[in-house]
Amino acid sequence: MAFHNRDRKDFNAGIMYMVIGGFFAGFATNYPMGTAVRMGPAYFPTILGALLVFLGVVLLFRSFGATDAELPTKTHWRPLLCIIGAACLFAALIGPAGMVVASAVMMLVGAFGGWDFRWKEQLIGMIVMPAVCVGIFYYGLGLPFKLFPWS
């Protein structure tokens, strides 16, 4: 049962389940448990949290018994950070700067997550797509967006 011989996918998933389950079950102690007849708000999450921790433990054990250890693919930091970052920037900008700016920034930052960034294409996209979206969502569907920083 050498440590390097574990199935990393199962191992990581097991840890994740244990952390999430433990968190939900542990935090449930802040709420009244109630009884089986009148279940309090903590009852259901405690059961589920415990179940999740149990599943995590099973996965963890299984990962050590793996004969053909399967390595998960490497984290692709560039797309991960760019896409998540783009989404967060959009969320942060749409209030103060309006939809047009937020959309353009999101497309630019998101595009850096791709494998083949070309300025010309992305610049065209940055101009065309926000305009299309304003047309569809603001004028077409009548959604109440703030369009520009000054509006």
Partner: protein, 505 residues
């Protein structure tokens, strides 16, 4: 069975569905669904989640008709890409790739697309009739259900969803549990306590599962796609010369279409089943029945006709458990539940009696939607081909933007966009470690329902858990769940699941 009432109900349905407004929304839905479904790397779940906010401002009937149209459109778009570029838009078109793409390379992409469309249309017709026939009696049965039965049925639905799906069973159950836990975040109806909200006012309303679906199926998928391919993919699009299948093609396809429809119907009604299984079983069946099985994989038209019909039949009949029992059987149906809830409709047997125009209108619109797909798609194939030629590097920033705007417009708040980003991050790592997103979405929707019914059942039984085993319907469902779990452990079944898992990747 009362055929005359079925007939009068269908007439009511068609009057609703044929109104100019509803026809228009059905058309827009089919068109948008196909448009986005054709784009590689976006499956039906992401498509529906992305387009869901568009329907928020509509009245319930057009909104649901449009969503159903989006769903068929997205499924249909998936097969188009499978045949033309060998890229399955969704897992259920994996099988279509095998022979469909080969036909395309032999210059027979047109007949393959036409047969796929006609087979799907036939399957859609049968599915619609079946819903009309079996919906009412099933709904009547559901009225007999108490809290214990509902709870057991949800257990069965969730178990079936993981058993028939692919990948590791333990991981899938874990994802369901995470979904259930995420689903109960927010104000507890009984005590008024805001659970796991940490003082964030948006969280006390619960986590919106639309943003969860957008995050996991939208952002998460895009990150995975960008990670997988490090260089520009050269997509070769098969040329479509003529759409007309030969007389020979049609004759060979009739059998597979019939059998595929039958298989798909059965798999669609079963709780938790996947359209993938329907299309896979149909392919296997046709290959077994064929006089010359070696033709399969080299462009046999039966290999397109059967699975495509099966796929569409099950996409149709999986509405039956949703509309009659109020139980979603998969991620797409879970999104439909969400859409109904947003419209103020609680899915379940009462929809049919309280809102017959909605129920029958939706069913009639399913048939109309299928017809529209045939009429719409065959002439428009040239346009879809043009869409397929857009490189992914140009496409994905626009998809990102659509997801973000969609998430924002759920509540007009940036909070939902942050949630989608968070779940995109989570979804990326989860799928990396072999944990699927679909069971989580299902759990998310069922979480509050399950807790509510568990509480009610236990309150009525005065805290005696044996209530789940003494009521016959409830016991039956738990036994089936148990049997399903046992089945997975059996080695023969294990092999089948592995094959499916490979196809899903």
């Amino acid at each position: 069975m009362d055929f005359s009432s079925v007939f009068s109900n269908l007439i009511l349905g068609f009057t609703v569905a044929m109104s100019a407004q509803n026809l228009l929304y059905c058309f827009i839905g089919c068109l948008l669904g196909t448009l986005i479904g054709v784009l590689p790397g976006i499956g039906p779940v992401a498509t529906i989640a992305m387009l869901l906010p568009i329907t928020f401002n509509l009245p319930p009937i057009p909104a649901l008709i449009m969503l159903a149209g989006i769903y068929y459109g997205a499924s249909y778009g998936g097969s188009t890409t499978a045949i033309l570029v060998n890229l399955p838009g969704e897992s259920s078109s994996v099988v279509t790739c095998i022979d469909g793409y080969q036909m395309g390379r032999q210059g027979r992409a047109g007949p393959a697309l036409a047969i796929a469309a006609l087979g799907s249309f036939f399957a859609g017709c049968v599915g619609t009739v079946l819903i009309a026939l079996f919906g009412p009696p099933l709904a009547e049965l559901a009225f007999e259900f108490g809290a214990a039965e509902y709870f057991s049925m949800m257990v069965l639905g969730l178990i079936a969803a993981v058993v028939l799906a692919s990948g590791s069973l333990i991981k899938a159950i874990g994802m369901i549990v995470i979904g259930l836990l995420g689903g109960i975040v927010g104000t507890d109806v009984n005590s008024g306590i805001a659970r796991y909200s940490f003082g964030v006012s948006e969280l006390s309303d619960g986590i919106g599962f639309v943003s969860v679906a957008m995050g996991m199926f939208g952002f998460g998928e895009i990150i995975s796609n960008l990670g997988q391919t490090s260089e520009t993919k050269h997509i070769e699009v098969s040329k479509v010369h003529s759409l007309m299948p030969t007389w020979e093609d049609i004759k060979v396809s009739i059998g597979p279409i019939m059998r595929g429809t039958a298989l798909g119907t059965i798999f669609g009604i079963l709780p938790g089943s996947h359209t993938v299984i329907a299309s896979f079983s149909s392919y296997t069946l046709e290959k077994k029945l064929a006089k010359d099985p070696s033709r399969f994989g080299k462009g046999a038209i039966e290999g397109v006709a059967g699975p495509e019909s099966a796929n569409n039949a099950s996409a149709q009949t999986c509405f039956i458990p949703l509309l009659t029992l109020g139980i979603p059987t998969g991620a797409v149906m879970a999104l439909m539940v969400g859409a109904m809830t947003i419209q103020g409709i609680a899915p379940g047997p009462q929809v049919m009696t309280q809102k017959p125009d909605l129920f029958w209108g939706m069913i009639a619109s399913m048939w109309i939607g299928n017809l529209m797909l045939v009429i719409l798609n065959l002439p428009l194939i040239g346009m879809w081909v043009q869409f397929l030629k857009i490189p992914y590097r140009v496409l994905f920033p626009s998809i990102l933007l659509f997801i973000a705007i969609g998430a924002y417009s759920i509540n007009n708040s940036p909070f939902e966009v942050y949630m989608a980003a968070l779940f995109g991050f989570f979804g990326y790592y989860a799928s990396k470690w072999g944990c699927e997103a679909a069971p989580l979405i299902l759990g998310f929707v069922l979480g509050p329902l399950m807790e509510e019914n568990l509480r009610r059942a236990m309150l009525i039984s005065r805290g005696d858990p044996s209530v789940f085993f003494t009521r016959p319907i409830s016991l039956g469902m738990l036994l089936v769940s148990f049997a399903l779990l046992l089945m997975v452990v059996m080695p023969q079944f294990q092999k089948k699941r592995e094959i499916l898992a490979e196809a899903d990747d």
